[in-house]
């Protein structure tokens, strides 16, 4: 078990617990965190699960793959540490991670 903190655009904080192997999108949806829709169920097809990983954690989550990169390149609030939450599979190493949510999803 680990924890991830989600910070909404208006700075509201939410903490979600996870078991290694689930995705950031999945735990956000499971914890009813507003601002992550996950419309396609994690198929990297909709772009409604954008999160901005805090700098210090970005090396743990890794960089986006080619298709994810293309999806991210069209998100209006793209940051250098942006990821699609459904493509970030949580490991025990990510316990304590903080991610920010954009104001709008795609």
């Amino acid at each position: 078990m680990g924890k991830v903190t989600f910070i909404e655009h208006d700075q509201t904080e939410h903490v979600a617990e996870f078991k290694a192997g689930s995705s950031v999108m999945q735990i956000a949806v499971d914890s009813a965190i507003p601002g992550i829709d996950g419309d396609c169920g994690g198929e990297c097809a909709c772009g409604t699960c954008h999160v901005i990983v805090t700098n210090e954690w970005f090396s743990k989550t890794g960089t986006p793959g080619n298709e994810e990169e293309q999806m991210l390149s069209m998100t209006p609030e793209r940051a250098s540490t942006s990821r699609l939450g459904c493509q970030v599979v949580l490991t025990d190493e990510m316990d304590g991670m903080t991610v920010h949510l954009p104001e709008f999803q795609m």
């Binding site: 009813a32 829709d37 419309d39 396609c40 169920g41 198929e43 293309q70 069209m74």
Partner: protein, 380 residues
């Protein structure tokens, strides 16, 4: 209220990674049960709504109980189109619509067995790809002259034809099925064809489309015509009753016509509109339809409706890692189908939404950056 024993779930994986056994059942659920409980929502599963009585604002349920409503939302989805042909009820003939179907089919997909898929639409093809991955010998029979004809253009159809053939799937176009041959103990042994031939089979999947589930609405006297008729606020003729998703034919503001769609995006967006309507906000449904399908290592993403196009522009080629087809009507981009090219899909989504007229040469030209097309500078 749900007829099935499961909490609401994603159906797309049923023909993809749930069928191949790569994800478990819980990962299909839209939300875990605890989210409903914590929100104070009651899930009543495994119960069928039998009838709506609009005079008394009650619904009657299969467990003999009744429930009163102030507002009612129908999200009854669709049911399978069945093939009426001699032998259609033999053992080993499958359909795929829900978790139970996917699990039964998955058990049958054993390496070396022969699966015949009747219908070359996207679900049949996804199953073909999943079964092929498991080492099953697959034949796809399609009556039309190309695959996925209802939803896509000839370039994409041809690409998937080559993809499946290349993977070893025997795809036969212009091939109409007339019935099924019986083998031992009432089990199917083959599929008979209009040209007199037979394709031997251990397992058959019939995948020939769905029909909107309108029985409840019809029974309550609500107007239905290839779907429950709703307006752009998801309201039926009765202001107390809304309807969303596969079961509806809605007034589509974007296309300025009545439209029925079978997609997750449509179900989700109509649900958002319905929620707004219930809360007294007016948030008309005006989304551009979009859709995806995964087969092998190929991701197809589609946006818009391509049926009425008068011009097609192909960007890249099927030999490239990714390519896309833009569908234009009177110079305006009305739809895009992107193969392993999410950027073209997303750019296309904006172009379609904004009804943009784009010089076809720019769409085609590899030196024109796709992203630059949405900024307006390159408009013709």
């Amino acid at each position: 209220m749900g007829n099935e024993p499961h909490p609401p779930y994603q159906r797309p994986p049923l023909s993809k990674n749930y069928l191949t056994g790569d994800v478990d059942q819980e990962s299909l659920y839209l939300k875990p049960r605890s989210v409903y409980e914590n929100a104070g929502h009651q899930l009543r599963l495994g119960v069928r709504v039998e009838q709506i009585d609009r005079d008394s604002s009650t619904i009657s349920l299969s467990d003999q109980s009744r429930l009163q409503y102030d507002r009612l939302v129908l999200a009854t989805g669709s049911h399978l189109r069945h093939l009426n042909a001699p032998g259609a009820d033999l053992n080993g003939i499958h359909y795929l619509h829900d978790i139970a179907d996917s699990e039964v089919l998955r058990e049958q997909l054993v390496a070396g067995k022969r699966l015949v898929v009747v219908g070359g639409g996207y679900i049949g093809l996804e199953v073909a790809a999943s079964a092929n991955k498991k080492g099953v010998n697959v034949t796809v029979l399609e009556a039309a002259e190309r695959l996925m004809q209802r939803v896509t253009g000839p370039e994409i159809s041809a690409f998937f034809y080559d993809k499946h053939r290349g993977a070893g799937v025997d795809v036969r176009l212009n091939t109409a099925v007339t019935g099924f041959e019986e083998g031992d103990q009432g089990h199917v042994a083959g599929v008979t064809l209009a040209d007199g031939g037979t394709v031997p089979a251990d397992i058959v999947l019939v995948s020939i489309g769905v029909i909107p589930e309108t029985a409840l609405a019809k029974g309550a006297g609500l107007p239905c015509d290839n779907g429950i008729i709703v307006d752009e606020f998801t309201r039926t003729e009765d202001p107390a009753i809304l309807a969303i998703g596969d079961c509806t034919r809605h007034r589509n503001l974007f296309f300025e016509k009545m439209q029925r769609l079978e997609s997750v995006a449509n179900a989700v967006d109509q649900a958002r509109t319905a929620a707004a309507t219930l809360m007294g906000e007016e948030k008309p449904y005006d989304s551009v339809p979009w859709f995806w399908s995964n087969q092998y290592d190929v991701r197809l993403q589609m946006v818009g409706l391509s049926q009425n196009h008068d011009q097609r522009v192909v960007r890249g080629s099927p030999e490239d890692k990714g390519f896309a087809v833009f569908y234009l009507r009177e110079g305006c981009v009305i739809a895009v189908d992107a193969v392993n090219l999410p950027l073209a899909f997303l750019v296309g989504k904006t172009l379609v939404q904004q009804r943009r007229t784009i010089n076809p040469e720019l769409l085609e030209d590899p030196d024109t950056e796709l992203k630059s097309l949405v900024n307006g500078r390159l408009q013709s």
